[in-house]
C-alpha cells in the first residue's frame, strides 16, 4: 500500500536529511550560537515537518479517514 511509501520517504529521506545536519554540526560549519544558523535550521526542520504533516493529512483525507 502507498502508506509504506510514505513511511519509507520520511524514514530513509529523514535519515539522509538529518545526517546532513549532523555532519555540519560535527564539523562545526553549523553553530547553534549563530542566529542565522539557528534560523536556517528551524526553517529546514520546519519544512521537513510541514511535508510530513501535509502528506500524512493528504493520505488520510484521500482514504476517507476524515
Amino acid at each position: 500500500m502507498p502508506f509504506w511509501s510514505l513511511i519509507y520517504q520520511f524514514a530513509i529521506g529523514g535519515i539522509i536529511f538529518f545526517v546532513g545536519i549532523f555532519i555540519s554540526w560535527r564539523t562545526k560549519d553549523y553553530s547553534w550560537h549563530k542566529k542565522e544558523d539557528r534560523r536556517v535550521l528551524l526553517f529546514m526542520v520546519g519544512g521537513f515537518l510541514f511535508y510530513l504533516v501535509f502528506q500524512l493529512l493528504w493520505h488520510f483525507s484521500a482514504v476517507g479517514m476524515f
Binding site: P2, F3, S5, G13, F18, F43, M44, H59, A62
Partner: protein
C-alpha cells in the same frame, strides 16, 4: 490511439507571437547591465532571493514537464507530484555544506571545484561529462518543445525549435545571466499562473471540486505511488532516482543552477532562495505541471473525454477542452516559457563551462576580460546552433535520444557521490575521485546490459522494466564502494591544499573570500546617501553607519538602490576603505564603484554588511 493535434485559433497564435516579442524585448533591455564575464556568468553576484527563486522555478520546469507530469497524473494520479515534493531530502547537504563552500571558495563550476579539490585529470573528465550532458539536453528540450507546439499549434517541429532557440540565443548572448534571470522571473510567474488558470477552468467544466474529487479513483487521490509496482511508476524507484540522485545532481552538478545560486548577493540569500524554492514554489510548480492530468482523469471518469485517449496527449486534450481562444494561446505561451527558461539557462551554462574550464585554462590563459566576454558570447550562439542541429538528429534517430537518457542516468550517481565525498570526506583522494566517476559510470552502463546486477537493490521491483529507476540506488552504492576502496590505497591531499573546499573549513573559505579576518557580528541595514568621490579608494562611511552595520574598515558590504523591487539590479559589493567624520548619512564612493553597480547617485541607497 493516435496523435492528437489541436490547432489554436488565429488569436492564440498572436498571443504566442506577442509573448515572444515581450520576452525578446525584456531580455534585450538587460544587455546594458553586462560589462564583464562576472556579469555575463554570475549576473554580477548582486541579486535578491525572491528574484532568483522564481527564475529557478522556470528553469526546473522544462517544456516537457507539462506533457510528462500531466501524463503521469492521468495514469497514476496525484502521486505524479512526488518528483517535485521530495527536494527537502537533500536540503541540509546543500544549505549547510556545498552551496556555502562553492560561494565562499569562488568556485564557478563542478570542473572548477574538481580542479581545486582533486586534480586536472578529474576536472577534464568532469568537463567532458557536463558539456555532453548539457548540449544534448539543449537539443532534447528544443525537440520536445517542437513536438508539443506541433501538436498544439500545428507549427513545424524544426522551425519552432529554430525560432525559440534564436530568441533565447540573442538575449542570452547580449545580456548573459542577468537577461536569463529577468526573463526567467517573468516566465516562472507565467507558467505558474497558466497552471492554476487551467485547473480552475477544469474545475468549472467538472462542476466544481466535488466533480473533480469524485472522478478520481482511490489510488489517484494519494500523495504517494504504490511502493514497488508497476515497473513504469513506483515509489521506491522515484525516491532513489529522482528524489536522491537527480535532486542532488540538479542542484550540485547542473551548471545552470550553480550559476544561478552564485548570482545571489550573499550566502544568506542562497539559503533564503533554496528554502523558498523547496518549501513554497516547488509544491506550486508540481501542481501547475501535473493538474491537467488529474483533471483529465476526472473528465475521463465522467465521460467528458474519449475512452481511448492517449495519456501522452492528455495535456493537449485538457487545454483544448477547457480554454477559450486567447487563453489557449496563453497556456501555449506558458509551455513555451517553460522551454525558453530551461534553454536560456543551459546556453549560458555551456558558455560558462566552455570559457572558464576549457578556453581560459587550456587555450588562451592570460587574455583580457573583454576578450573572454567576447568568446563567451560566441560560444552562447554556437551552443544554441548546436542544439538546433541536434533536433533533426533526435527526431530521426530515436536511439540517440534514448542514448542521451541512458548517458544521463549513468553519469548521475557517480558524479553525485564524487561531489558529496569531495565536500564531506577529507580522506577522499584525487585518484579515487577520477575512478569513481569512471568506474561508477561503467558499472551503470554494465547494469543496462545486464539488469540482474541491480536485483539486490531493486526492493522487489519486477525485473521486466529493466530497473529503470532503482538503478540509481545501485549506482550510488557501487560508486560509494569504489570511492571508499580506492581512497584506502591512495594518497590523500594535504589538509592545507583542501582548506576551504571541504566541510569543516568553511571559516577558512570565508577568510579567503574576504581576504582577511571575518566579521560575523549581527548588524542592521542603513539607508544612506551616496556621493561620488574621485579620491575614494572604494567606499567610505561614517562611524555612526559603521556602528549600525556592526562593521569596520576592511569589511565587505553590499550597497544597493533602496527600491527593493529592483531585486539588486542596481547594486555592488565593496570594501569599506575608510571611515569619515563628515555628514553621518553620507557615504563616499569611487566612480568605478558607481559604474560597476549601475548606481544612480540621486537615489537613496541601502547598505548592509556581508562579512
Amino acid at each position: 490511439m493516435e496523435q492528437t493535434t489541436i490547432v489554436g485559433t488565429r488569436l492564440d497564435f498572436w498571443v504566442v507571437i506577442f509573448y515572444f516579442i515581450l520576452i525578446f524585448g525584456f531580455g534585450a533591455i538587460f544587455a546594458r547591465f553586462t560589462r564583464s564575464t562576472k556579469d555575463f556568468f554570475f549576473g554580477g553576484q548582486r541579486f535578491s532571493w525572491w528574484l532568483i527563486t522564481f527564475s529557478c522555478v522556470a528553469s526546473v520546469v522544462g517544456s516537457y514537464s507539462f506533457i510528462k507530469y500531466s501524463a503521469a497524473g492521468f495514469r497514476y494520479g496525484m502521486s505524479s507530484s512526488m518528483a517535485y515534493l521530495n527536494d527537502w531530502i537533500v536540503m541540509s547537504f546543500l544549505l549547510l555544506g556545498w552551496l556555502p563552500i562553492i560561494y565562499f571558495s569562488r568556485v564557478g563550476s563542478v570542473p572548477d571545484y574538481f580542479r581545486k579539490r582533486f586534480d586536472e585529470r578529474t576536472a577534464v573528465m568532469a568537463t567532458i561529462i557536463v558539456l555532453a550532458y548539457m548540449i544534448g539536453y539543449i537539443g532534447i528540450n528544443l525537440y520536445t518543445m517542437g513536438v508539443a507546439l506541433n501538436a498544439l499549434l500545428g507549427t513545424d517541429i524544426f522551425w519552432s525549435a529554430v525560432v525559440v532557440a534564436a530568441i533565447c540565443a540573442v538575449y542570452v548572448t547580449a545580456g548573459g545571466q542577468t537577461s536569463v534571470i529577468m526573463t526567467d522571473l517573468v516566465q516562472g510567474i507565467i507558467l505558474l499562473i497558466a497552471g492554476f488558470v487551467l485547473f480552475f477552468l477544469g474545475l468549472k467544466v467538472l462542476g466544481g471540486w466535488e466533480g473533480f474529487w469524485s472522478g478520481l479513483p482511490l489510488l489517484h487521490r494519494l500523495p504517494f505511488a504504490q511502493f514497488n509496482q508497476p515497473t513504469e511508476f513506483h515509489f521506491v524507484g522515484i525516491f532513489w532516482q529522482d528524489g536522491v540522485a537527480n535532486t542532488f545532481a540538479l542542484y550540485m552538478m547542473n551548471q545552470g543552477f550553480i550559476l544561478r545560486f552564485l548570482s545571489l548577493k550573499s550566502v544568506r540569500e542562497i539559503k533564503k532562495t533554496f528554502l523558498a524554492l523547496v518549501l513554497i514554489l516547488m509544491p506550486l510548480a508540481t501542481f501547475a505541471v501535473s493538474n491537467a492530468g488529474w483533471l483529465g482523469r476526472a473528465m475521463h471518469t465522467h465521460g467528458l473525454l474519449p475512452a481511448d485517449i492517449n495519456p501522452e496527449q492528455i495535456f493537449v486534450h485538457v487545454a483544448g477542452r477547457v480554454c477559450i481562444p486567447g487563453l489557449f494561446g496563453f497556456v501555449m505561451a506558458a509551455l513555451t516559457a517553460a522551454l525558453m527558461s530551461t534553454i536560456d539557462t543551459l546556453i549560458n551554462a555551456v558558455s560558462a563551462i566552455a570559457v572558464n574550464d576549457v578556453y581560459r585554462p587550456h587555450i588562451k590563459t592570460h587574455a583580457s576580460d573583454k576578450h573572454y566576454l567576447g568568446v563567451a558570447r560566441v560560444i552562447s550562439l554556437a551552443s544554441a546552433l548546436l542544439g538546433i542541429a541536434l533536433v533533426p538528429v533526435f527526431a530521426t534517430f530515436k536511439s540517440i535520444y534514448l542514448a542521451h537518457g541512458s548517458f544521463t542516468a549513468s553519469i548521475t550517481p557517480p558524479m553525485v557521490i564524487t561531489i558529496l565525498l569531495g565536500t564531506y570526506w577529507k580522506k577522499f583522494t584525487s585518484s579515487a575521485a577520477f575512478w569513481t566517476m569512471f568506474g561508477g559510470s561503467l558499472l551503470m552502463a554494465l547494469s543496462i546490459l545486464w539488469p540482474f546486477m541491480v536485483t539486490p537493490f531493486s526492493h522487489g521491483v519486477d525485473a521486466s522494466g529493466g530497473f529503470k529507476y532503482t538503478r540509481a540506488l545501485y549506482g550510488l552504492v557501487g560508486s560509494l564502494v569504489i570511492a571508499g576502496g580506492i581512497s584506502f590505497f591512495t594518497q590523500k591531499k594535504s589538509k592545507a591544499k583542501i582548506e576551504g573546499l571541504v566541510a569543516g573549513s568553511l571559516d577558512r573559505a570565508k577568510e579567503e573570500y574576504k581576504g582577511g579576518p571575518i566579521n560575523e557580528k549581527e548588524g542592521k541595514k542603513a539607508i544612506v546617501k551616496i556621493v561620488e568621490d574621485p579620491n575614494a579608494e572604494e567606499l567610505s562611511i561614517s562611524p555612526q553607519v559603521a556602528h549600525r552595520l556592526a562593521a569596520s574598515a576592511g569589511d565587505l558590504v553590499y550597497l544597493s538602490d533602496s527600491r527593493a523591487w529592483l531585486g539588486g539590479l542596481r547594486s555592488v559589493h565593496a570594501r569599506i576603505s575608510a571611515l569619515h567624520d563628515k555628514d553621518p548619512r553620507v557615504i563616499y564612493v569611487s566612480p568605478s564603484l558607481v559604474k560597476r553597480g549601475n548606481l544612480l547617485i540621486k537615489r537613496k541607497h541601502r547598505l548592509e554588511k556581508i562579512i
